[in-house]
């Protein structure tokens, strides 16, 4: 599963585009993905939909997988 990385506004815009494209008709499912914030707070990621590209003017960066630094340390 691949990802797009950018600002919060950019990943939310991408999610909105996917939602509008999919037009969910099921009674439960209504959203493509939830944006994930990097542990240092500097950037956001969202799962890429294989069939839907970001808007042409988007600055989202495509990554095949998230690097390890995206996984937060668990609070023990």
């Amino acid at each position: 599963m691949s990802w797009y990385i950018g600002t919060r506004e950019e990943v939310e815009a991408y999610n909105q585009k996917v939602n509008e494209s999919k037009q969910y008709k099921g009674s439960i499912t209504s959203n493509w993905a939830n944006p994930r914030q990097h542990p240092d707070g500097s950037k956001w990621a969202i799962i890429a939909n294989n069939s839907i590209e970001p808007q042409e003017d988007s600055n989202l960066i495509f990554e095949v997988q998230l690097s390890d630094d995206w996984t937060p340390e668990e609070e023990l």
């Binding site: 990802w3 969910y24 099921g26 439960i28 499912t29 493509w32 997988q65 937060p72």
Partner: protein, 490 residues
């Protein structure tokens, strides 16, 4: 109320001249007038305490109570019984009868509330039919009783399970006074006729006995096996895409109480990629704690590439969605926690080197108060339980949890109450108290980012101590025995 039918009197007979005749072969071809269908086909029509005839479910500590002959009856005597349904919607008194095929029968009972009104259900469990009845203190059939009637038509000839059952909705304890149960052939209730208890023999086995038919007081039950035969239940709601268009459907159980995989595979036939996902894992207790996720990319798999996800033949939910943040969540499972009991049946797909996979959490998604267990917290192949509240309890780690094997983790409010496959794992104290929690998250922590990339078969949560009911996997007793008997873990 007394029976006026007299079987000693032949009402009408016919000479069957084309058959051999003897003094013992007189045949009756009509019933006495007003008899309307025949005798009472039940046993113990006034003795609801007779467990050989009226089997009580659940069978464990929360079984219904029967105070025999404790209440005035419709005839002015004191032969009515007060039945106390425990706070389980499947709590019931059940009787098995053998009936003819394609025949109409009427099940009736006199009932009265202790005060005000009280709901209960009359059921044909075999036909999965139910009718809700409301008893009062002001019924017109004597002593404030009302005679309640439920008519049904059989399918095939054979055994049918009839029940007087607690009402549906939020599980609530209810007291109902019963007297004079009857089952007669025909579409109307015949005049009441007493039926004596069985003599000898033993109570019949239920056609299907789910976890909830044995253990009451379950707060949330997520499984792909049926919780009780006494309710019409769904296991999961599933989602597929057909040419990128979503469709969802509920999936229930087959006649054996297992997930209806035939219906599931039929649903998957035209699914893109042959994949079907779970959008709801239903709480089968009636408490409404369904674990859901409305976000497509976080829903676990149940059918992959056209095949039901299984391990050792048991269907399961698969959280391995690559980098996806798998999660199912039930909000407001409990308001506060004292004692708890958790029974989690799972299988790992990775060896734990991918640390911090949280299989479940009960809490608010922060470190301040939660119960969770974590794969790989102590390194490869380890498993740890962390219970936090007023005091934090780090359960340490257990080793030797292999990949692609089914395991049962039990967490109980007792000293050293963390078990894997029935073996105690910790020297820490498991008692948790004093904190307020709100959500149950499966396959992740409430806040996400710690997805569990393994399989779930069943998750059972009690907001109460069940240490006395843990039992033994190897002996097949108690809760662990029930789980092991079904999943054949050890």
């Amino acid at each position: 109320m007394a029976n006026s039918n007299n079987w000693g009197e032949i009402y009408k007979s016919t000479w069957w001249g084309d058959e051999d005749w003897s003094a013992n072969s007189l045949k009756i071809d009509s019933a006495p007038p007003g008899f309307a269908g025949g005798q009472n086909l039940l046993k113990s029509s006034e003795e609801f305490q007779q467990t050989r005839d009226w089997v009580r479910y659940p069978t464990n500590s929360q079984t219904p109570t029967v105070n025999a002959d404790s209440r005035p009856d419709p005839n002015g005597g004191t032969t009515a019984d007060q039945v106390g349904f425990t706070a389980n919607t499947s709590a019931r008194l059940q009787q098995t009868v053998t009936l003819s095929a394609s025949t109409e029968y009427t099940f009736s009972v006199y009932a009265r509330a202790v005060s005000d009104t009280v709901d209960f259900r009359m059921r044909n469990i075999t036909l999965q039919q139910t009718e809700v009845k409301t008893a009062t203190t002001t019924g017109s059939d004597g002593g404030g009783f009302t005679r309640f009637i439920y008519t049904f038509t059989t399918g095939a000839a054979g055994s049918y399970e009839l029940a007087l059952q607690n009402a549906a909705g939020t599980p609530t304890a209810r007291d109902v006074i019963f007297w004079g149960a009857m089952l007669n052939q025909g579409g109307t209730a015949a005049e009441y006729e007493y039926a004596a208890p069985s003599t000898g023999g033993s109570a019949p086995e239920a056609a299907y006995a789910g976890f909830g038919d044995t253990f009451g007081g379950v707060t949330a039950y997520y499984s792909l096996r049926k919780f009780t035969e006494a309710e019409t239940l769904n296991a999961i709601r599933v989602r597929k895409e057909v040419s990128s268009v979503d469709e969802e459907q509920d999936m229930g159980f087959d006649a054996n109480g297992d997930l209806d995989t035939s219906a599931l595979l039929e649903f998957a036939t035209d699914a893109d990629g042959g994949n079907v996902y779970v959008s709801i894992w239903y709480d089968q207790t009636g408490n409404g704690n369904d674990a859901t996720n409305s976000t497509e990319s976080e829903q676990p798999l149940i059918v992959s590439g056209g095949s039901v996800v299984t391990l050792d033949g048991y269907p399961c939910l698969d959280g391995d969605l690559g980098a996806g943040d798998t999660m199912l969540q039930a909000l407001d499972v409990i308001d506060s926690v004292g004692d708890v009991a958790i029974f989690s049946t799972y299988a790992l797909k990775t060896d734990g080197t991918t640390a911090n996979q949280i299989t479940f959490e009960i809490g608010n998604g922060t470190s301040t108060h939660r119960i969770h267990d974590t794969l790989g917290r102590g390194g490869a192949g380890t498993f740890g339980i962390d219970i936090r509240g007023t005091t934090n309890y780090d359960f340490g780690n257990a080793t030797g949890v292999a990949v692609d094997d089914i395991y049962l983790n039990s967490i109980l409010s007792e000293t050293n109450g963390f078990y894997i496959n029935g073996t105690q794992q910790t020297s820490n104290n498991a008692v948790r108290s004093g904190s307020t929690v709100d959500a149950l998250t499966l396959f992740n922590r409430g806040g996400g980012a710690f997805p569990y990339k393994g399989k779930f078969f069943e998750f059972i949560f009690f907001a109460s101590d069940q240490s006395a009911n843990r039992g033994s996997m190897s002996l097949g007793t108690g809760i662990e025995g029930n789980i092991n008997t079904y999943f054949d873990i050890v």
